[in-house]
Assembly symmetry: C2
Homo-oligomer: 200 residues x 2
DNA sequence: GTCTATATGTTGATAGAC
DNA sequence: GTCTATCAACATATAGAC
């Protein structure tokens, strides 16, 4: 673990941001000081301020990247046409893949609570995405492809509660090749559940 | 919303703690100052310190209550004997019920990251509970009652990722009677999934 | 038990030399 | 682009009067 003395090669702005977001996730955004971030990137605190305007800007950049990636999933052709249940399964799978691929950024996003303007805007964008998925669940229920006995909004929340939980425990540095297995398990459990004897 | 001027009737220690934990959840533990807590309870900051030794003690009391409630579920007779799949379903249902009943405390627990000694101890206790549930999932898989194609540890994490997501969106103040429906939906989705055509 | 006043440290952020 | 030095604001926590 580099502590800033064995001067790392010097980072690009994107690499800097990834490092920052990782520290945010480890310590929590509020508990992370600009001093912490500077040290983690091998820079002096003032040098660090030369690259970014401040802490809140870093948060905005981090959650923005996650939101862009998640929004891109809903813009994919397979998410926009076809039977609702197929579209839904596609979105579940691709969302899980995005979580794995952009793990630190999505992790940061999912922990945002709305304390500042930047956070509230992120929550707003996230709410918009959630609403579009909930519409998809509703359409699939109307088409009879998913169980009608659970309210679509409730089902959406539980479904993506499971998907999003990936950020709580998946550590790609410990299990770098486990991503596809995780994604498959999410899709299978979401659609068919845990039980082998699946009737109602 | 009382802001401390219309002096609330005066709280017991337990009521004080519940208020505190709610503020922690709204603002985030790190972002909450002792001043915030004092104001929320209608007390002066120094008066507040008369009731509690400090911020970290409050965190410990809050997560401790959540951990006690969750541990009690695993100690129930129905969680200790019978076919593994039945025991598992019981634990899923009762855990969901505890989340609903002790929502602010469990919410606080699930956001702990391990920055301080109190937090690390809480994470340790939580890990112990998770391991016992994972054993239950493994036993159910060995008995052929749940699908064998998903690693038991992975299944446990996704399963309780869904259950725990309740703390992310359930607001009993807005929908006070929705608790039982939420619990039923969790158990149904966990065991049987979203799809109506559930084969593999 | 409640308050005012204050000690002591840390934070985000800036000024300005090199 | 990097650093040293510094600031104003705010944090946790305590002393001690009433």
């Amino acid at each position: 673990m580099p502590d800033g003395r064995g001067r790392p090669p010097r980072y690009s702005r994107d690499e800097l941001l990834e490092k920052v977001v990782t520290v945010f996730n480890e310590r929590g955004y509020e508990a992370t000081s600009m001093e912490d971030l500077a040290r983690a990137t091998g820079l002096n605190k003032s040098s660090f301020y030369h690259h970014f305007n401040g802490k809140e800007e870093l948060l905005g950049l981090g959650v923005g990247r996650a939101l862009d990636a998640l929004a891109a999933v809903l813009a994919e052709p397979a998410a926009c046409s076809g039977p609702p249940a197929r579209r839904l399964e596609h979105v579940v799978r691709r969302t899980a893949e995005v979580l794995v691929a952009e793990l630190p950024f999505v992790t940061l996003l999912l922990r945002v609570r709305g304390n500042t303007e930047v956070e509230r805007e992120a929550l707003g964008r996230r709410r918009d995405l959630d609403a579009r998925v909930a519409d998809m669940v509703r359409a699939a229920a109307d088409a009879g492809d998913i169980r009608p006995d659970i309210d679509p909004r409730l089902a959406t929340r539980l479904l993506f509660g499971m998907v999003n939980s990936i950020t709580e425990w998946y550590r790609p540095d410990l299990r770098p090749t486990a991503g596809p297995a995780v994604v498959d398990a999410v899709v299978t459990l979401a659609m068919h559940g845990l039980s082998t004897r699946s009737a109602q």
